[in-house]
């Protein structure tokens, strides 16, 4: 009896395993920050390359860099934010691009090419971008008489007194430091030690009022109503507003850009030096740069895309949305790379900022 049962058990597992190996199309592995490729684009790509697209997610560019630095291989394409491109190139982890193999680069808006972090687009081509700004609970702001058109709202105790425990900031040193530097009227990419020290002081002063460092589920807090103002990505807020509408929620979420300027995360396609299939990598990037793909991405996810034709195809409520397509790109900044010394210094400060407990926060029940 026992033997019979074991046999059956083993047999059933073997069947499961065999059926698992049967989808044998080659895999196209993309290392990407979030759900950043539209479904119709994936379907088109998979049928044209006879491959199976596998998206591997990272929470933050730091995590991606740590894994790549540590020798992760197997990815065909990485979608990396501005400064991460420089770091990957310096580590020797990515391949110089043969731009001749990317004819669809012609569709990309020239304003987004040739950036400081990759002069001449030697390694990267821009795919999409995501502005970072403050999103808020409209009714609460009205009630408190606060207009979040300035970073002061999340850094100045004058405002924070009223918002204590209802603010979230990203769980990312780069974003929080950049916002603090913008608030101080400094260059958000400053590596001046004095500037960084000032930024640290500003963050230390403000962080007791913040509820959480959160770059993953903050928009759910906005939706629930316990978070009133949050450092946000445009795509998350686009989705949150749609969700609120769909569930007939009484909570009204709005967003605006800040007058000191805002960061935007310009995401680029790069090819790892260790790519298992170079042709597949190029095929994927070419496909993603198509006007149709870029249109689908912006239309379905609310991402901003560097493709003028695609923007014209969009409905006005996306194309004319100031926090998706900012009217004045001069006040939008990309992240540049830090020298290793500066980065280690900021990381050390960040560890302490993030790990220290502030007893003031009102959600602390113990």
């Amino acid at each position: 009896m026992t033997k019979y049962l074991i046999n059956k058990f083993v047999l059933s597992i073997i069947i499961v395993l065999l059926s698992a190996t049967s989808f044998a199309d080659k895999d196209l592995n993309v290392f990407i920050g979030s759900n950043y490729i539209a479904d119709p684009t994936i379907a088109r790509l998979e049928s044209s390359c006879k491959c199976h697209l596998v998206q591997n997610y990272f929470n933050d560019n730091g995590e991606m860099l740590a894994k790549m630095a540590a020798g992760a291989t197997g990815y065909n394409v990485i979608v990396a934010t501005s400064y991460a491109v420089t770091e990957l190139a310096k580590m020797g982890k990515i391949e110089p691009l043969d731009l001749k193999r990317l004819p669809n680069l012609a569709y990309v808006d020239k304003n987004f090419m040739n950036q400081v972090y990759d002069v001449g687009n030697k390694y990267s081509v821009p795919y999409a971008y995501t502005p970072v700004f403050l999103a808020y609970n409209a009714d609460k702001m009205k009630l408190l008489g606060i207009t979040p058109n300035t970073w002061s709202v999340v850094f100045d105790p004058k405002y924070l007194e009223k918002l204590k425990g209802h603010v979230t900031m990203f769980n990312s040193s780069r974003n929080v430091f950049a916002a603090a530097l913008l608030y101080l009227g400094k260059d958000p990419n400053s590596t001046n030690l004095e500037d960084l020290k000032l930024a640290r002081e500003v963050i230390d002063r403000a962080s007791p009022y913040w509820a959480k460092f959160d770059s993953d589920s903050y928009y759910r807090g906005l939706l629930r109503g316990d978070i009133w103002i949050a450092m946000s990505y445009s795509i998350d807020i686009y989705r949150a507003i749609a969700d609120a509408k769909a569930s007939h929620s009484p909570i009204k979420i709005e967003a605006m850009l800040q007058k000191e300027g805002d960061m935007y995360e310009l995401d680029n396609m790069v090819i790892p030096a260790s790519t298992p299939d170079l042709d597949l990598s190029y095929a994927f990037i070419n496909n993603a740069l198509l006007t149709k793909s870029e249109y689908e991405l912006s239309n379905l996810t609310g991402s901003s895309v560097p493709n003028k034709v695609a923007i014209k195809m969009l409905s006005p409520d996306i194309a004319n949305n100031p926090w998706i397509y900012p009217p004045d790109m001069k006040k939008m900044y990309v992240f540049n790379e830090y020298a290793p010394k500066i980065r280690n210094l900021i990381n050390e400060m960040w560890t302490e900022i993030q790990m220290r407990c502030h007893e003031i926060c009102n959600t602390c029940s113990y």
Binding site: D60, G62, E63, L65, A66, A69, A70, E87, K90, M91, S173, W210, A211, K212, F213, R224, G225, D226, P340, N344, N347, E348, W350, T351, E352, Q354, M355, R356, C357, H358, E359, C361, N362, T363, C364, S365, Y366
Partner: protein, 299 residues
């Protein structure tokens, strides 16, 4: 001669495997604690050549940083406090449960035991998620408690994203680890001992305190260790249901390896955590053996 060969044949491969995939990795981690962090994550080269002079890059900087940073001590003490509270509550909840199973008839015993095993075998993430629903701001429980708080004149509280939620989840996911060894111990007890103590005039409470409890001490210790050790290194629970004030030492370790890329500091913190676990286990072990010795000495 044949015997020796058999001994080798049996033990060689398992030993080799565990040396390669447990001992060596642990030694590597200890070694990394003394290195310097690299420019792009990882560690700096062990040996550098500058102007014909060779330099060996080994340092105690990470140990110094860890021991002088107040926030690391804060995290560490909080992790200890959470784990100790968790262990105590698991004991309080688990002891009656184990006793009930051990004392129930043969028919029900297996079913009851299976009922403890099922939550224990389903993913702990699922179990944390169950509490995320119950404690969530939209749930009836939270609503009810806030109603009561409102009537009593307190401001409303958020049950989820608090230290309370972290501890509840730690207790919940670890409770079966306490029940199983306790049951294994209690079930072996000889009922005649209790009867004897009752015949000699002990009250039920006395016979429990003087007979059952001391006899179950090995089970209590095994269960406590099985609860305490996984609790202290937990990083997922504070991440999912905690706030800034409920992060634990595991969160720091994870952050150092996956976000801020400071491997040496991460290694140092892991070593401190492991030493603390070892220290506590030793202390409790010695304490327990003393206690037993005393009991017998008194008799």
């Amino acid at each position: 001669m044949l015997r020796l060969n058999e001994k080798r044949a049996l033990s060689f491969i398992p030993s080799l495997y565990l040396v390669c995939l447990f001992l060596i990795p642990t030694l590597i981690m200890i070694f990394i604690a003394f290195r310097e962090p690299g420019d792009y994550g990882g560690v700096a080269p062990l040996i550098t050549h500058i102007n014909n002079s060779t330099q060996l890059n080994l340092t105690l900087d990470s140990f110094k940083f860890a021991s002088t940073s107040s926030f690391i001590w804060q995290l560490f003490l909080r992790s200890m406090a959470f784990s100790i509270i968790t262990t105590i509550f698991c004991l309080v909840l688990g002891y009656p449960l184990a006793m009930m199973i051990a004392k129930s008839g043969k028919k029900y015993r297996d079913i009851l035991l299976l009922m403890v095993i099922i939550p224990f075998w389903s993913s702990f993430l699922v179990r944390v998620y169950a509490w995320m629903i119950i404690l969530g701001p939209d749930s009836g429980v939270n609503y009810l408690i806030n109603k009561i708080m409102g009537v009593l004149g307190f401001s409303s509280v958020n049950l989820l994203y608090s230290s309370f939620a972290v501890v509840i989840c730690l207790i919940y996911i670890n409770l079966p680890f306490m029940v199983l060894p306790l049951y294994a111990n209690l079930q072996k007890h000889d009922d005649t001992l209790i009867e004897a103590s009752r015949d000699l005039g002990a009250t039920r409470l006395q016979s429990f305190l003087k007979v059952t409890l001391p006899l179950s001490l090995p089970g209590v210790l095994a269960g406590s260790a099985l609860v305490f050790i996984p609790s202290i290194g937990m990083f997922v629970v504070p991440e999912l249901v905690g706030n800034n004030c409920s992060l634990m030492i595991g969160n720091l370790i994870k952050q150092q390896f996956l976000q801020t890329e400071n491997w040496p500091l991460g290694s140092v913190t892991s070593i401190i955590m492991t030493l603390a676990v070892l220290g506590i286990s030793l202390f409790v072990g010695v304490f327990a053996s003393r206690l037993k010795g005393l009991k017998y000495a008194n008799k």
